[in-house]
Symmetry: D2
Subunit: 349 residues, 4 copies
């Protein structure tokens, strides 16, 4: 079988590294180019010694014109804002692009402008597909520009969408999510300095200040059949490297329903899904159980006394929350088996 | 100055150790007896080598009759159920008892029975004072039986009580709290085994299954002037040893209020409090900033778009959430300066 | 291709779990039986939720007679002492057995008795092959009883054997090794309780008290061509789940040699090895770079001023130090490609 | 009692913060000035929220001329190189200076030049006292310029000096030490980024490349009565914030001695020491047991079979390895009780 040539832009960050980890074992692709601004000129296994023995390609400068001729699929792990330009250039050359930045996730350019600034390529927004296979599988088949979801939105949407889609909870949700530190990227900052962030937990960007808020509302509103869903979102940083645990609190639309009704909704929604496990009764999602895997664990509980439904999801932010999901979307776009190259079991303990 | 003799029951657990850490430097007390079932016969600095050089007393068996003659104040760190009997015996002998178990926290014996089983000494419930100085300072002066609050309730009540007391939020709250592993005690279990709990985050006892729920509702309802407050409570275990971060979500009773109004309520409530800091605007509570200290950091934010108030508190579960607060209550009961022996700044980083 | 049926004894511990993680993706085997004493009757994905969606077989009681007819290869993850009996029964039935316990690692029954007690099956010792492919590849081809190496010995031998084999260092070594907590197994103890072991580092079984000492000396002496190698071994427990870093200190046999000479020895020894990487100059082994992978990273430095050679190795104790290496040995024993099923890149960060 | 005015230069780093934590509760001093380059103009409890409620002084620019008139004692936490100038200016004005940088630790300006570059104030070296009270108590009384020891040297010297002073081990040592990440300071770098350094362990500056090497050799040689002691030093970074564990390996000068002989040497050396505990037989040092305290835990074991003595010390790098020890030295210099302000028990767990 001919392998399809793929390139990774922004290969020196964590989502880049995670793409490489998975792509070197993907049976249908061949990595033909790695680009990154700072690391240009270095061998990738010097940048990421965990790749030693598996990948020793040199990182090259970020130049879409140089890369397009050598790749049919390009993953962009460039930062928000920087990504759109490269994506546009590669789309113009007919490449399949999976963009892991936020640049093409919001369908409404005005909303994008509110959170990120003026969009440099609004003309591409309509054609971009939000790369969450559980919600947009059909649109992903044959897609050319895939906007890979944010890590928090992936967890939150997987927990909440089936309940909203079936009208089981009211469209106002409290979302309290906890992330490992790798979600903040590889650039050292005081907020991600080991001695500051270790051995403590804290919320940040509380009360709707986090940019993943509009993305969640967009997708949950679509899932709810167009009903505007409003959330308050509190992200936390916990002292671990990988993983997101999201708790979504909603009010039952009908207080007579039992916990089994909510659970049945999840089971129905995810029947046959290759990467979503609705946990058996008695188990609850734990990020340690999905570490290194593309799998999401979800569960739902009813606090009948308080009148609150709690839906919970655990993912690995770098796999199902980023690079694994991007590969899953590529597989769909190219008509390949959806789980190709993504079989790995989570690394526990 | 004569030092008051104090004893610690259950000295071989974490709240016992933390009491000892603080009491050895308390200028008005002298530790005269340590008791614990399993560790009986061992020197305490073999049980807890961090006490080496400061305390080398031998641990004795748990026998209130043996201990009462040698102590005026007794802290009980015995488990729920086991504590009540020892407490009753000591109260009968006229001792001041600070009970760190749950046995005397609920005022309603029927409610206690629902969550913990039949109360062995319901006759003592009416005289017990809930040992949260910020809410019950006056009752604590001269108290003889102090029910020291649970760790989660301390954080949650400190965050939410001022808002409820002023009627600023409706009496239905979502509480999402994250605890370090020391909150689960010192007995090894699979759930607290390093390799299981490290590098991951998970919720447990979701949807109102945690026994701290009725304690929080009792105290928040009292704070709300008798209005029944209902909460849904989700505790989490995060991979750190100490600390609790509680996020409390409520609905504004009047949507016209600004964030400043909520903040003013906290500032007013905690003016002059020796151990509660309402953080300056722009800061958010972080358990790393209260580690090893008796201080609580609190803040409140308004998500005006979503119509949700988020109150947040950070404490060290073993200090303000247990042993430090117990000493603070003892200080009040004996008419001593409230902060005596509790001055230590948090150990950061 | 027909898949070979394999069974795992002791499937409810960490090395069992790690075998399952790897074996479910091994293209030449099929898992046909899982046995474990305590977990018997439970579905394996309830015991280990990270296997959900990939393996849902029920765990059965430990009965070699029941298991032998259904498996050609059996991995035993039973504890030292308990393993030998099961292994003997399965060997007698003609099965290929890979034993991850210490029961067949020492060739000398008297030495075994000194450290572990009387050996129950000394007649099998002569036929057992020490399962470190880098030293015993040829013996492993066709082997029927493989004694899979201990985690510490794997790291230490990989660092030191090439230097001893070439006579570059004197046969007296100081070995200072640091392990993640998973090396202590899955049974909860006070020493592995999160709050005790987290946020601190400590040595244990200092001064030759650890049972891996004779195993290292046996293999290093063989590597040294029969010269008796003597080591002092200090294991440490560090607050992480996986990984071993071993530093081996030796005295140059010829002070005139340069660092490059020692490095050349490692490069020569490991040329063509599928799972050992001699790091480029300027890099040093880091357990984070081999987490979840079967790879070992090794390096050597010369402190010319002090006259000391420092050889360093990093492995994942559960993969190259246990289950991955056991599969590597099985591959060799069955004449399969050595790296089959072991390709996975380390999970970094 | 009049409090002595003290100032801290470099107050925005970790050793600065730790000084402040301890000094706010020191009964004989008053903090009158805080200086730091980057944080100048900010309130210290915004820089370090854990100080909220205890210290709210504003940080001022680094200007010795401005600070000297307001302080009798100045602690300098400035980086190596930057410190010497400020120290010289303050010494010239007759102030007592405790310098936590390396600038005055080496007595030999030529040796300093080899490791750090030309010394800007070699004229002050002769008058500086190495601030390790256990070795230089008498010199510290009345000292005016105290060179506070490095964190690694403190641990290593406390473990090894008594053995060398009594000629019990040969003067060639292997030193393998493990440090928490706070030892690398507060400036974010890739090497201290949470996701890089968490969940892994690694050596760095192997084979004598670490600048603490000459400092250890200088002091150990002095302890050995002038015999030149040579060490090979391997520092490691482990995934915890605070703590150093040092293992020192030496060869017995007389193979006939028993473990008890080595232990007796430590006990004799540290009899009456306020901050060194020789652990009871059966216990080993653990950094978790000295966290937040000025105490060192030491132990020694003999591996008679291998002919190696292993001396081990655990300290908190920020307390006994830096700021606590600096205060201990100040207490001695001013003729105060040596343990004043340093009583705190370690924060365990």
């Amino acid at each position: 079988m001919m392998r399809v040539p793929v390139a990774v832009l922004g290969a020196s960050g964590y989502t880049g590294a995670e793409l490489l980890r998975l792509l070197v074992d993907h049976p249908r692709v061949e990595i033909t180019a790695l680009a990154a601004e700072r690391a240009a000129g270095a061998r990738i296994d010097r940048v990421f010694p965990h790749l030693a023995g598996r990948l020793d390609r040199e990182v090259e400068p970020l130049d879409p014109d140089q890369i397009a001729p050598r790749a049919e699929v390009i993953f962009s792990c460039l930062p928000h804002g920087a990504s759109a330009g490269a994506v546009a250039a590669l789309i113009a050359r007919g490449r399949l692009v999976v963009d892991l930045s936020a640049d093409f996730r919001l369908r409404d350019a005005a909303l994008f402008a509110e959170w990120y600034g003026t969009h440099p390529h609004p003309e591409l927004l309509a054609g971009a597909v939000y790369g969450l296979p559980e919600l947009h599988r059909e649109e992903l088949r044959g897609a050319r520009l895939i906007a890979s979801p944010g890590c928090y939105p992936t967890a939150v949407i997987l927990a909440a969408a089936p309940l909203l889609a079936r009208g089981l909870v009211r469209p106002r949700l409290v979302v309290d999510a906890k992330s490992g530190v790798s979600g903040a990227g590889r650039s050292p900052t005081q907020a991600t300095h080991f001695s500051e962030v270790g051995e403590g937990v804290r919320a940040y960007k509380v009360a709707g200040a986090h940019r993943h808020t509009p993305e969640m509302e967009q997708e949950l509103s679509r899932a709810a059949g167009g009903v505007a869903v409003r959330i308050t979102f509190t992200p936390h940083m916990v002292p671990m490297t990988r993983g997101i645990l999201a708790c979504v609190y909603g009010e039952p639309s009908d207080p007579a329903r039992s916990e089994a009704d909510y659970r049945a909704a999840l089971i129905e929604a995810y029947r046959g899904e290759p990467f979503v496990t609705v946990l058996d009764d008695g188990l609850l999602p734990d990020t340690a159980h999905v570490r290194g895997s593309n799998r999401a664990h979800v569960a739902v509980k009813l606090d009948a006394r308080a009148g609150v439904v709690v839906a919970i999801a655990a993912i690995d932010n770098l796999v199902k929350g980023a690079s694994g999901q991007a590969i899953q979307a590529m597989n769909l776009a190219l008509g390949w088996p959806e789980a190709e190259g993504l079989g790995g079991v989570g690394v526990f303990p």
